[in-house]
Symmetry: C2
Subunit: 253 residues, 2 copies
Amino acid sequence: MTAPACYMRFVSTQRATGLAKAKRTLKWQRDPEGMRLRILEAAKQEFSAHGLAGARVDRIAANAGANKRMLYYHVGNKDELYLAVLEGAYDKIRSEERGLDLEHLDPPEAIRRLIEFTWNYFLRNPEFLSLLQTENLARAKHLKRSTKVKSMHSPFVEMIGTVVRRGVSSGDFKVAVDPVQLYISIAGLCFFYLSNSATLSVIFGRDLLAKDAKDERLDHMVGLVLAALTGQSAALLAMTKAPKSRAAVAQTV
Amino acid sequence: MTAPACYMRFVSTQRATGLAKAKRTLKWQRDPEGMRLRILEAAKQEFSAHGLAGARVDRIAANAGANKRMLYYHVGNKDELYLAVLEGAYDKIRSEERGLDLEHLDPPEAIRRLIEFTWNYFLRNPEFLSLLQTENLARAKHLKRSTKVKSMHSPFVEMIGTVVRRGVSSGDFKVAVDPVQLYISIAGLCFFYLSNSATLSVIFGRDLLAKDAKDERLDHMVGLVLAALTGQSAALLAMTKAPKSRAAVAQTV
DNA sequence: AGAGAAATTAACCCGTTGGATAAATACTGT
DNA sequence: ACAGTATTTATCCAACGGGTTAATTTCTCT
């Protein structure tokens, strides 16, 4: 938005004949796939930064280094553009979720990894959070029309179900909690803290996105969920404040 | 929006003199306080339904039964109107929060009440959720300018601190969890489920706002938090799925 | 080479929207 | 009763913003 950053690939064509003139004209080059990608990327940024109504088609075009007409040519009108971005966002997270292997981990560790993944994914993809907020503000009006997203089931629910069952039979976990509820809880613990960090930071008068604050939050969430599942004070210990020195958690994927 | 619902109080003035004409003209009546309230209420609905950019000043005026000029006269431009609504929303929840008395309850019950209050408040005030989402989408740009909201500290953090301390010394709780973290977790568990119910309902292919689903969710949240704090399987039991028959939780305030 | 198709640019259209100006009407105190 | 002020109505407008139309340029295939 700030700098119109022209991504368009220009080529300087120097007429072989008529050299004397040195008439160096800047022309454009075809690149339909690239153009489409740049449009979708710019649209993602725009929609996540300004919401659906606040997004400006002209800005998307400018940031994509394209002419406005290109949006309609390659994707469609504003709504279709928005839906394409949303579908892309779901596609991406689902794909990364599938890459998470919890099979070989013991149940508590598996749950920890699950939380860490969710947390880090949200941290790495703030636009995803914004897009979800925007779509929920619209009461999922667009998502309902998307057969594509509806068919993209998260593997997490099943993964959690398996882990919980293993945990119960191994004695690690005390109770077979509903996987859907646990999934929503884990997502919620991460999501709310990050998506509402702006207002919460103002309310509490401190920066919730500072490194220490984030580390502390992750420890708290893992501790809370594991303590609930295992009933062990071992997990609870991580919840006491001032963990400070905890090493940064590497990206899981 | 649908019906312009003219809230304006009209009075039929019948000229005492000149009776023959029966010139019954509809005139308006002054009501600055009422007008301001109607404007703010209409604005709250509009902003929560459409977000800041999506909100239409004309619709607010129409739904307030007012002339558009009135908005600027009584409150200010769109941004000031929005901030006024936001401040009102915070004011309302803070006020209700203060009404919650946890002193006389034993710690686990106090935590339960806290969660129930939060849950029910969000259920009763969906606009509050929307407004927060909208403000966070704007990265709290407006909230930062509001000295009013900054001074409205939630009593919950301190209340939680007290309850947790009591719980630890009474032996009910195993660990002195950070009150701020716990506050955010409780809010997050409730908030995310409700604010994202639209997309989640599509993803899971079921209505998360159905009565049974909501009851189940509340049980899960209370169970999760209490199990973590107490380490008791008693609390965990409530987390097993299919509680179904649980009586509806009455509004706490 | 060169014709037809694909991709891109440039310019325009027109309803919407936040906001402003000015005039009218209802109160209030004296 | 009336003058002055507070409140409300009636219009207007300039900028914006999504979308369209038409012309231009590049690529591909024969």
